[in-house]
Amino acid sequence: MTDMTPVLKVEGISKSFGALKASDNVSLDLRPGEIHALIGPNGAGKSTLIKQISGSLKPDSGRIEVLGRDVTDLDTVARARLGLGRTFQISSLAMEFTVLQNVVLGALGARGRAFSFLRNVMKDKALLEPAQRALERVGLQDEAQRRTADLSHGQRRQLEVAVALTLQPKLFLMDEPMAGLGASGSKALTGFLDELRHEAPILLVEHDMDAVFALADRISVLVYGAVIATGTADEIRANAEVRRAYLGEEDAA
C-alpha cells in the first residue's frame, strides 16, 4: 500500500455570517486516488466550504492542510502554487480570450514566470504543448481558436477542467463540473473524472446524483453547514439521517 496520508485535510472549520452558521465545525479529508463527493441541499454551505478550501474566504476557526502543510493562512495564489487545481461553478474564464489562450494562461501559471515582456506567448512551445494536450483530454481541441464567450455553458465547464489540468495539480477542487452538460457530455466527463482520480484526487461538489453515486469513493453530506455523514455510496444511501435530511426531501418533492 502506498502512502495514504490525506492530500487535503479539513479540520473543524467554522464560518459564520452574522447569525448564520455557513460552516459548522466541518472536518473532511481527501485521500490519494479517490473522488470524494460533497453533496447537500441548496444553501447547505457547499460554496462557502469550497471558498475556504481554495483560499478566497478565511475560516473563523479550524485548520486546512494540503499535503501535510498548514495552508489556513495562505491565500488563493499560494494554494494554487502548492497544487490546488480549482474549477468554478460560475465560470471565471477570460471571456475575451480564445479557448487556447485560456489554457495557455494555465500553463503560464504552472510555469510561474509571467514577467516576460517581449516573447510571443502564443508561439511558446513549452506552453502550447501542455495547453493543447489539456484541450484534447477534455475534447475541446476543435474549439481552440474560438472565443471563450462564444462557447456553450457545458463547453465552458470543460474548459475550466482543461485549465485546471494544465496546472498539474496535486488535487482537484471541482465545483459542479457537470452543470450545463447534456446527457452525453455528462457521461463523457464522468468517464474522464473516473480516470483522472488516479492522477490527482478530486473533491467534487455536484448536483448530478447519478454522477456522484457512480463516481464517488466516499460521499460527505452537508446540511446547514455541518457534515452529517461521510461514507461510501451504499452507506450514504442507507443512512437514516441523510435520507431524512436530504434524499427524503427529494423523494417527497
Binding site: S54, S56, A80, M95, V104, G109, F115
Partner: protein, 328 residues
C-alpha cells in the same frame, strides 16, 4: 497575411511621417510642429493604454508622470543653462542639455513615482482607484505650483531646446523625427508586450481576477509592473513635450491633462495599439480647425467622445478595423 488592423496601423504610421515631410516641402513649418505634438501626445497615450487598455486600470493620474517627465527636462535644462549645479554637497549633480540623459532621468523618475503611486492605489479598484490616482496627480500639481525654485505657478522656461548628438534639434523636422522614432520604438515594444506572457496574464487579470489567482499568479504584481511601465512611457512623453514647448508648468500635472490623455485613448480605441495615435491626431486637428471658429471647440470634442463611447466601443480604430481579433 496582415489583418485589417495591422494594415490600418501601417497606413497611420506612414501618414504621420508623410504629413510633416510634405509640410517641409511646402514650407509649412507650423504643421511640422503640430505633427510633433501629435507624436508626443500619442506617446503619452500609448503609455496610458498599457495600464488602461491591457490592464483595465482607469488611471486619472497619468498627468503626474507626464508632468514629472516635463519637470525632469525643465530642472535639468534650467540648471544647465544657468551653469548652476543642482546639488553640490555631498556630491555634485549638474544639469544637462543632452536629451538622452534627460529622457533617462524622466523615465526613471516617473517609473519610481508610478511604483509608489501604484503600490498604494492598486490596493483599491473601480471608482476608488480612479479617485486615488486623481488625488496623487493633484497633490503633485499643487506641489509644483508652490515650488518657486522652478517658477511655481508660472512654470519654467528654457531658452534653447536641448541637444541630441549629431542632430540640430532646433530644426523642426529633425525634432519631429526624434519624437517619431521614439513613438515607433515604443509602439513596437507595446505591441510585443501585449502578446507576451506578461501581456496575456495582465489581460486575464482585467477579465477575471479570480482566474489569474487560480492559476497561481498575483494580479497586484502584474498590475503594479504594468503601471510602472505605463507611467515611465508617459513620463518620457512629458520630457519631449516640455522640450517641444521649451517650457514646463504645473498645467502638465493637472487633472485636465490626465483627462486629455485618456480622451486620446478612448477616441482612438481602448486597448488598440494605434488608438492613442488616432486619438491624439483627432484631438490636435479638432483643436486647430474648430479652435479657429470658436474657443468652445471642446464641445465638439465632447460630442465625438460621446458618440465613440455610445456607438463604437473600439474607438475610431474599432469602427474602421472591426472587433479586435484574438492574437495567435
Amino acid at each position: 497575411m496582415l489583418t485589417r488592423e495591422t494594415t490600418l496601423n501601417i497606413a497611420l504610421a506612414a501618414a504621420l511621417l508623410a504629413v510633416p515631410l510634405l509640410a517641409l516641402a511646402m514650407d509649412e513649418i507650423f504643421i511640422i510642429t503640430l505633427a510633433t505634438k501629435v507624436a508626443i501626445l500619442a506617446l503619452a497615450g500609448v503609455g496610458l493604454n498599457i495600464a488602461l487598455g491591457i490592464g483595465g486600470l482607469v488611471s486619472l493620474g497619468h498627468a503626474a508622470f507626464f508632468g514629472i517627465g516635463g519637470y525632469a527636462m525643465g530642472i535639468l535644462a534650467a540648471h544647465a543653462q544657468n551653469y548652476e549645479p543642482i546639488l553640490e554637497a555631498p556630491f555634485l549633480i549638474e544639469g544637462t542639455n543632452q536629451m538622452p540623459i534627460i529622457w533617462l532621468v524622466a523615465i526613471v523618475a516617473s517609473a519610481l513615482a508610478a511604483l509608489v503611486i501604484g503600490a498604494l492605489s492598486l490596493r483599491t479598484s473601480g471608482v476608488y482607484f480612479i479617485m486615488i490616482t486623481l488625488a496623487f496627480g493633484q497633490m503633485l500639481y499643487y506641489f509644483a505650483i508652490s515650488w518657486s525654485a522652478y517658477g511655481g505657478e508660472d512654470g519654467q522656461s528654457i531658452w534653447v531646446r536641448n541637444e541630441f548628438p549629431g542632430l540640430n534639434t532646433l530644426d523642426p523636422i529633425q525634432f519631429f523625427l526624434i519624437a517619431y522614432v521614439i513613438l515607433c520604438v515604443v509602439l513596437v515594444f507595446s505591441a510585443r508586450l501585449a502578446r507576451s506572457p506578461f501581456g496575456l496574464a495582465l489581460a486575464a487579470a482585467r477579465q477575471s481576477e479570480e482566474r489569474v489567482m487560480t492559476v497561481g499568479l498575483t494580479p497586484f504584481h502584474l498590475r503594479l509592473v504594468a503601471f510602472v511601465i505605463s507611467g515611465a512611457i508617459t513620463g518620457l512623453a512629458g520630457a519631449l513635450y516640455a522640450d517641444l514647448n521649451r517650457f514646463v508648468s504645473p498645467t502638465m500635472l493637472s487633472w485636465h491633462t490626465s483627462g486629455e490623455i485618456m480622451v486620446f485613448v478612448i477616441i482612438g480605441g481602448v486597448g488598440r495599439l494605434f488608438g492613442p495615435v488616432v486619438g491624439a491626431a483627432v484631438f490636435i486637428l479638432l483643436e486647430h480647425i474648430l479652435g479657429g471658429f470658436s474657443e468652445y471647440w471642446q464641445i465638439f470634442l465632447g460630442l465625438l467622445l460621446l458618440l465613440m463611447v455610445l456607438f463604437a466601443r473600439g474607438g475610431l480604430i474599432g469602427a474602421i478595423a472591426g472587433r479586435e481579433v484574438a492574437h495567435d
